[in-house]
Point group: C2
Chain length 503, copies 2
């Protein structure tokens, strides 16, 4: 027997498989032969004192020499490994927690300790996409009860780090489903300017054309570590960071990529994800924005009430005061849909520009005012006035610029390479807008992967339109995707409802 | 713009990712840049008039030159492509059928046409593992009703080819869960020898240490095309082929690999899978073996009855006469568990060896007899006698050898490189055997991927054991897996129940 049959020397091939770690090993290597390791098996890779789980791609050609192995780019990064380093390959011990996932799929109720075990395995990277997908589908299908949602929330909170701050800490969240609804940078600037701590972490898009983190990233770096978040917030009272890089709810970042592939957004997963992240960032008070509309995520006041009760209830169980604002979710907020186009809207509002989207401005004022009241900064009924003053005085803008600088420097949103105008083929008044189809179109044109891609939407409900008037403009950075989106648009009927002729 | 920005020239890197097709493309290639294609996207690859769907791995190093691309080994094979061929890369159109999968996860009932759409997309290779896993979990969680199981069965049948034969055509199936239960090669030989057509296709293992196709492959090639199956059956009345290579129910082969990763074996999927394959192979009469036992897949007579009714009902709806035999599923059948070890048992029975496992022999006689009666070859009550005579006369053996020759040539099972005996640490009588743990151990030792790996099981219930007596022998082809299995065995308590001392 050779000395160390399960050790191999790294050689970088430069293969990018993002978060799916791959190890490339010759199928005739001693480790594959003696350990019975074959392609697609999941194995443990140790290097420099760190261990990850990776999927095996067997190499049958000569791109690796005998005794050599390679890793996908991200796996090199996460291990801090370089060419010439030695890795140790070992069997992954049996994934016992999958029996709990199977039980969940078969409809069994799981307890707190079960969720802890599952989430720990997920955070350790033991689950492949196939395993994660089964867990998510099982949770959605079996409709977790209150106790299970709490169990999942606590498990997600326990699996990551947790920040603490002195005194009251504000946070906000919007349940989403409304394209372009990008109030966060404005709200954070107003709240922080009024002396309330608001260490805001946001998601990237799950099934939408942009998440707040995607939009903010157009204007400033958002990949902040926990110490960086602390530094920015201690200096300027607030930040707008991507939650993923802060690793405050590491399980959530793993779920998100599978939910995106499935285009599924489960309610219990959402509650657990949101509240675990709020608690992890150290928030004490949370304002929750639930937009209601026919094509929004929440479609009725009754559903909004039920969801609001669940959030308040689970929030209280983990020590958070949650307060809900139900808002108009009938159509996109602002004009831009897609990271850079939404960032432009945000900057217009902060600059008090004449043509700033009025709906985005008033919604930001509403939410900021609510937070100022909830945290005892403004007396009941006067929060919005205080928020508006902070905005119109220009103090919100300079606070925002300070935060951007502290996060690594402000940058102006760029414009996409290609634009394509969509004009109306008839006259009338816009009566309703399909949020889902608008969002789909923005995704097909490249958002959020291409930050400048998206839609500039100019025909909100109520607008009078003449034949030939501009309805919206598609922005794209690749011709292929622009054509692909136009092809989809041509096959659809009901993006907008219009009453023809006179009202 | 270049002439053909979405065309690239193939260069083989020799990377084996089995059935998961990968396309390797430089991230700075014109096709990635102009079409907005990034790592992990799923794209269509066309070459030599064929099209597959593959996952993108972006290459950032120099293993590919400008204008070059590569494919995983299996993708090269399936396209019939070679070095220097040109591929065309295009966006995969939106996966509309995932909205049906989401509806299923949310508990909505799906209709025949919905299952047809989903299964068509799956057979075209449009679903990744994440999508397949969500569909399987959704079907399990929402407990398909009779109409849905029929819808799924018909959809799976419609998605593949279908054979036709003159007159009565027999088939058999065992719902499994019993290690070593390898009656098929014996039954097929007896039935075919008595003049009834039995074009048998079998599965590879899903969650067990060996499927019938895995066991048969140790003795003869099983990867037969439809014309090859027809040739063998027309010559010798029967065959034992792998259903996967015949592509009779192509969706099933795709489900199996995800079910294996999840270690889940859904009832509705099983019924749809079994009956669609029976109908596709042209069977008219099916004998269904349901082993019942505490650690078998079916644990009570009542459950067996319910399952049997479902099989008979759905079978009748697609034109199959299904008859059930409920058998003893309390412990492994035969001595061997794992492809080669089970093949040895089969050969012992066919050779009428003195030490042939009696349980395997009598069970094969029972099922063959039932088929002879069901197909009108033997009068009621005399099927087993006819089957026994066919076996003891040696005619079953020579029929089996003829079939093996016609399938490509008989080969003797090989013995594994490493053996390890497990002896009893106490005396007593074996009272029960845990099928699930025995199967798990056989898998850990390498079965079915290593065909010679497995367990030789020598302590069935009822056996009197003295301290130091052999209970079973582990067979392995890799030292790593043998040690791994021994480690698992050391941590377990209840492989066997034993009553201590005198009975």
């Amino acid at each position: 027997m050779q000395g160390q049959p399960n050790q191999l020397v790294l050689r970088k091939l430069g293969i990018d498989t993002q978060q799916e770690y791959i190890v490339f090993m010759r199928s005739d290597s001693s480790v594959c032969v003696s350990e019975g390791i074959t392609s697609l098996m999941r194995v443990q890779i140790s290097c420099r004192g760190k261990t990850i789980v990776a999927t095996v791609n067997a190499v049958t050609g000569n791109i690796l020499g005998p005794g050599e192995a390679s890793l996908s780019n991200r796996a090199f990064e996460i291990l801090g490994a370089s060419d010439g380093d030695t890795i140790r390959v070992s069997h992954l011990s049996a994934l016992d927690s999958m029996s709990l996932v199977r039980a969940k799929i078969y409809g069994r109720r799981l307890e707190q300790e079960h969720y802890d075990i599952i989430i720990q395995d997920i955070v350790h990277g033991y689950y492949s996409g196939v395993h994660l997908s089964a867990f998510i589908a099982g949770c959605v299908a079996s409709k977790l009860d209150r106790g299970e949602v709490l169990g999942l929330t606590r498990a997600m909170l326990n699996a990551g780090q947790r920040m603490t701050w002195p005194g009251i800490v504000a946070d906000k969240h919007c349940v989403g489903g409304i394209p372009g609804n990008r109030t966060t940078p404005i709200v954070v600037s107003i709240v922080a300017e009024n002396g309330i701590l608001i260490p805001k972490t946001s998601s990237r898009a799950i099934t939408s054309p942009a998440g707040t983190a995607d939009t903010m990233e157009v204007m400033a770096p958002v990949n902040l570590s926990l110490p960086e978040i602390r530094r920015v917030v201690e200096k300027f009272g607030g930040c707008i960071a991507w939650g993923g890089s802060a690793k405050l709810s590491p399980a959530d970042d793993i779920f998100i990529r599978v939910e995106r592939a499935l285009d599924i957004d489960s309610e219990s997963q959402m509650i657990a994800s949101v509240l675990s992240k709020k608690a992890a960032v150290g928030a004490t008070h949370v304002v929750l924005d639930i937009p209601v509309g026919e094509t929004a995520k929440v479609r009725s006041e009754a559903e909004a009430k039920r969801l609001s009760d669940l959030f308040e209830d689970i929030g209280a169980a983990i020590g958070l005061t949650v307060q809900t604002v139900i808002t108009d979710g009938s159509q996109p907020v602002g004009r831009g849909i897609g990271p850079a186009l939404e960032a432009r809207d945000v900057l217009c509002v902060l600059h008090n520009a004449n043509d700033a989207p009025h709906d985005l401005k008033s919604k930001s004022i509403l939410i900021a005012g609510q937070i100022l009241e909830q945290c005892g900064k403004a007396i009941q009924g006067q929060g919005e006035e205080m928020a508006l003053e902070t905005l119109t005085s220009g103090r919100a803008l300079s606070r925002f610029m300070n935060i951007c600088e502290a996060q690594g420097g402000f940058r102006e949103p760029r414009k996409a390479q290609f634009q394509h105008d969509i004009v109306s083929d008839r006259s009338g008044r816009i009566t309703s807008v399909n949020n889902r189809k608008i969002a789909r179109l923005a995704k097909l044109v490249g958002a959020p992967a291409d930050p400048c891609a998206g839609i500039e939407f100019l025909a909100p409900a109520g607008t009078r339109i003449s034949r030939g008037d501009l309805l919206f403009t598609l922005h794209a950075d690749s011709r292929g995707q622009l054509e692909y989106a136009l092809d989809y648009y041509a096959r659809q009927e009901d993006f907008l409802q219009m009453s023809e002729g006179a009202p």
